[in-house]
């Protein structure tokens, strides 16, 4: 059965070892991505540069300003003397937020009227402004609670909502990002490398020589894919180890189950790359098409943005991407510690994808030059 598969695999493996660009893609991408997403990208914005306009200059105003500062979200860069200077600072981008304490703030406070503090945020930066708004609301709530409790002479709260963030108790970003990163890195490298596979042979003129031999289409396709399954598993291991020891991401569930399902996802990604390479004429086109494919993988899969928030149409599209299902598997096994009993549906879908995509690539490939 498939007697020419093994020579094909061996040849691909030798070529892979000698190709510096491919080696760079295989080992460079995971490390760079992991560091970028693990360290550089933070959605909780701290130290927003802030200017203060204190029109009252009293102990009460200094007290409320200190409360803002103590949240850690606001970093006061300057005290300004009037509105024009404040507006200029925000317009120039020197500050992304401003706190205005009006002149009558201490008086209103003393007379038990509602005293007002104004917070202005630069909403052209969505993440920073959201963090500023949340922090400002928090300051107001804490203040109100303390004052009302003092007046009512109560030491206990009437109601308390206790929040338990399961699976990521510290709400730490890497815990959420690293499992998803495994899927994104695998998609990126597997699809890009494979999409160039046939295109490269066509460009170099080696495909012509290969297809005048009795090698079958299936042998050719499987022979291309097989060596890179190992690469994919290696990459996944590297990301998981870095995640575990650098970002302290837990590995709660069964490693065997994870690797078994990952195998299906890797095969599906490689087969899709191979499918792309049967559509294009050269490596440059292959690169363009695969990057066009990568984008929805990152944006729609639920890796960065929640799928529930998307219009139904885009949710459907995301279901047609293998990565969406593999993300559930990764988070399920790594963070929740669940097994096949909870993930059998995703596993079946990924198995379906890999068989379908290999069949598609084989069908699309013809042993002729036109």
């Amino acid at each position: 059965m498939m007697p020419r598969l093994w020579p094909m695999v061996r040849k691909e493996f030798v070529q892979m070892r000698r190709d510096r660009l491919t080696a760079g893609i295989m080992f460079g991408i995971p490390v760079i991505q992991l560091l970028l997403f693990g360290y550089a990208i933070q959605t909780d914005v701290r130290n927003i540069p802030t200017v203060v306009l204190d029109e009252s200059r009293t102990p009460a105003s200094r007290d409320i300003i200190a409360a803002f500062q103590n949240t850690g979200n606001f970093r006061i860069v300057k005290h300004v003397n009037g509105r024009p200077e404040l507006d200029a600072a925000i317009a120039r981008g020197d500050a992304q937020a401003a706190i205005v304490v009006p002149e009558d703030y201490p008086r209103d406070l003393a007379r038990h009227r509602t005293a007002t503090v104004q917070v202005i945020v630069d909403a052209s930066d969505p993440l920073a402004s959201q963090a500023a708004l949340a922090a400002a609301a928090g300051v107001a709530q804490a203040r109100n609670l303390a004052m009302l409790a003092a007046e009512a002479r109560r030491t206990t709260l009437p109601v308390e909502v206790r929040i338990r963030p399961r699976y990521n108790p510290g709400l730490r970003n890497p815990v959420y990002t690293v499992p998803g990163l495994v899927a994104v890195i695998l998609t990126l490298t597997m699809v890009v490398i494979m999409s160039m596979a046939i295109a490269r042979e066509r460009e170099r003129g080696t495909l012509e020589q290969l297809i005048v031999t009795p090698i079958t289409r299936t042998e050719l396709m499987l022979g291309k894919i097989a060596p890179y399954i190992g690469v994919g598993l290696f990459q996944m291991t590297a990301v998981l180890l870095l995640g575990r020891f650098v970002f302290d991401v837990p590995l709660t569930g069964s490693v065997v189950t994870l690797y078994a399902i990952a195998l299906l996802f890797i095969v599906a990604s490689l087969a899709f790359g191979l499918f792309i390479s049967t559509l294009v004429r050269n490596q440059q086109q292959a690169m363009q098409v695969s990057f066009f494919y990568i984008l929805p993988n990152i944006l729609l899969s639920g890796f960065m943005f929640p799928r529930q928030a998307m219009p139904v149409f885009f949710q459907w599209i995301s279901l047609a991407l293998p990565i969406t299902h593999f993300l559930k598997v990764l988070r399920g096994i790594l963070l929740k510690g669940v097994g096949l009993e909870a993930l059998w549906r995703e596993t079946a879908i990924l198995a379906g994808f890999s068989v379908l995509l290999i069949a598609l690539a084989v069908r699309r490939f013809h042993k002729t030059l036109d």
Partner: protein, 245 residues
């Protein structure tokens, strides 16, 4: 088996509006060294590619070693060796790795592969080059390696598309010695060429122009049919006729 190794009947191939090969009919006998001669764009490469199964004919038929290229193209592939115009082997593999790969693809295993590889290496004198990467070989050695890979499965029919393009004269002479040796042992060789001295060394020739067969026969017969004193004359007459508006 009959003594006709390659039987081409009214073979035609269009590329859009262009007719690359038109109603080509010819027979090549077993053990013959048969040359396809003609200016660029005369349809030589397209003909060879159709016979190898690399291009589907638009109409007409052909059989190679008794097998129909339209109904059983994959069975034809075990019967033929092919050298394309451009070096088609892996430059990032060594000579030995290329030979072993193609040996494996043609179904050679273990001791049988080692024996056959040793034969081909000795026949072509590749012994000292085995560990070199194909990319580091000169044109002449690349051509020998390509021929070696095409010979591993002892095909009864060889298709060589401008095998000596970019190869120095000494290497070309050597190459032709090898081709005649193969023909002596019963291999049929179909070769395209630009070089007149090479055309003279063929048993028979077919002259093509604009996708059509213009003349066929021994080199002197072909020259006479086109109306030149020599093959070179005939070739130039054809080329000028092609380039005339």
């Amino acid at each position: 088996m009959t003594d006709v190794a390659v039987d081409i009947r009214e073979l035609t191939r269009h590329f859009g509006a262009l007719t690359a090969v038109s109603q080509l009919t010819l027979q090549i006998a077993r053990g013959e060294v048969f040359g396809l001669l003609g200016p660029n764009g005369s349809g030589k490469t397209t003909t060879i590619r159709m016979l190898c199964g690399l291009l589907d004919p638009t109409s007409g038929s052909a059989s190679v070693a008794g097998i129909d290229i339209r109904t059983a193209p994959e069975r034809v592939k075990m019967q033929i060796g092919y050298m394309s115009q451009r070096f088609g082997l892996y430059e990032d593999l060594s000579v030995a790795e290329n030979l072993e790969f193609y040996g494996g693809i043609y179904g050679l295993r273990g001791a049988a592969q080692a024996t056959r590889l040793a034969e081909v290496v000795a026949f072509l004198g590749l012994g000292n080059r085995m560990r070199q990467l194909a990319a580091q070989l000169s044109g002449g050695w690349k051509q020998r390696l390509a021929l070696g890979c095409a010979l591993l499965h002892q095909p009864p029919v060889l298709f060589l598309d401008e095998p000596t393009a970019g190869v120095d004269p000494a290497a070309r002479r050597n190459f032709w010695r090898v081709i005649h040796e193969l023909a002596r042992t019963g291999t049929t060789v179909l070769v395209t060429t630009h070089y007149m001295d090479e055309a003279e060394r063929c048993d028979r020739l077919a002259m093509m122009s604009g996708g059509r067969l213009i003349a066929i026969g021994s080199p002197t017969e072909v020259a006479a049919q086109v109306g030149g004193r020599s093959l070179e004359d005939a070739f130039i007459i054809l080329q000028e006729r092609d380039e005339a508006p």
